[in-house]
Symmetry: C2
DNA sequence: CAATAATCATACCGCTAAGTATGATTTATG
DNA sequence: CATAAATCATACTTAGCGGTATGATTATTG
């Protein structure tokens, strides 16, 4: 049966989730192993039985967090109308990137990237890279762009503009503002694309 | 004469500049009052004579930093040709926002904004707000946009896209990449504007 | 039931940093 | 010169944190 193995898995997950919570709300440096142990309802010793050090636990937590994100803004790109596809993607993309979970993660990575660049780059190369390649394919197939990279970057930059504001304490934009922003961005992009296609 | 007053001012500035250096390179939490005192060639006691606490010194440092920024990307907006103006502004704007000083400041504010939102918002409302209003005026006068706010946001968003990448450890884009990016962004903007004006 | 592994509770070590205290030394002012 | 303020050098207090040690308690397995 291996009941002990199941419990080990449970404990490990409990610790990781507690760590995620504490790391995201406190930042790496202020998050203490005691707090994490408390939050996981576990002894500090037990934490150290599963993870050999704080930085080890932090890395494992980053890996664990990735499996949570089930947003999928990519689905919108399958819509038949290009404008619908882009607008749907844009709104979904922005909402995902303004979620408190994402903001906290970003904040954490930005803060820690100075001292641990390898974590930041290796981990986050998964997220943005996937987005970029998927969008590049869409821009090539559906918008007829031979060289989509610059356009992709401009497009994602426009969508992420709100994030910086929110990161610095500005109020979160309303759904209506987001929609208007995405519509304008789409218009900008499609207008130029149409010209290039002509 | 008041020679004592002059020295007080000097000491205060020395401490503030040391604090700026240490805060930017270490982050708020890792920056210690001992390091700052050393850097300022002053005793910790003296630091505490001028600033009552670490957070007090941090706030004063943020205020003091503002007076340094003498970038002026705005000058480019005076060029007669709209395209030249926008491209010049864009390149200068990006370079300014990729400077190590700006990146460090941004990193610091992002990291600390969770614990001290009032600092972040009150201080940085100076920078972006001025940019937005200046750009809005340009968009109205030179591009003929009656409602420039959304366009301004899209424009600055496109220009700041690189910053997020660099913040997360990606390599700094080359001057050529920046120029290409700005040219594409300008093209996008002007294409749409021309259409609206017709 | 007996043996083994995991966990618990708690205390401890070494270290660093915020902030205070003290007494000596310098510097500006009358 | 004499006074008073500012600064210096140094040491101290207090507290939190990373990580370890210990001995008791629980649960799993044969």
């Amino acid at each position: 049966m291996g009941k002990i193995e199941q419990n080990k898995e449970k404990k490990r997950r409990a610790i990781l989730e507690a760590a995620q919570h504490v790391f995201l709300s406190e930042g790496y440096i202020l998050a203490s192993m005691d707090k994490i142990a408390d939050q996981a309802q576990v002894t500090k010793q037990t934490v150290y039985r599963y993870f050999s050090s704080k930085i080890d636990l932090f890395q494992a937590t980053l890996m664990h967090m990735g499996s949570d994100s089930e947003d999928n803004f990519f689905d919108h790109l399958k819509k038949p109308d290009r404008k619908d596809a882009l607008e749907g993607f844009g709104v979904s993309f922005i909402h995902a990137h303004l979620s408190s979970n994402h903001l906290s993660t970003f904040r954490l990575l930005v803060a820690e990237s100075a001292k641990a660049p390898e974590i930041t780059s290796t981990f986050f190369s998964v997220g943005p890279n996937e987005t970029d390649t998927t969008l590049a394919a869409f821009f090539t197939d559906r918008l007829g762009l031979a060289e989509p990279d610059t356009a992709v970057r401009l497009w994602t930059s426009m969508l992420l503009g709100f994030r910086d504001c929110v990161l610095m304490g500005m109020p979160r934009p309303s759904d209506q503002q987001i929609e208007q922003h995405v519509k304008a961005a789409t218009e900008l992009l499609l207008a130029n694309t149409a010209k290039q296609q002509a």
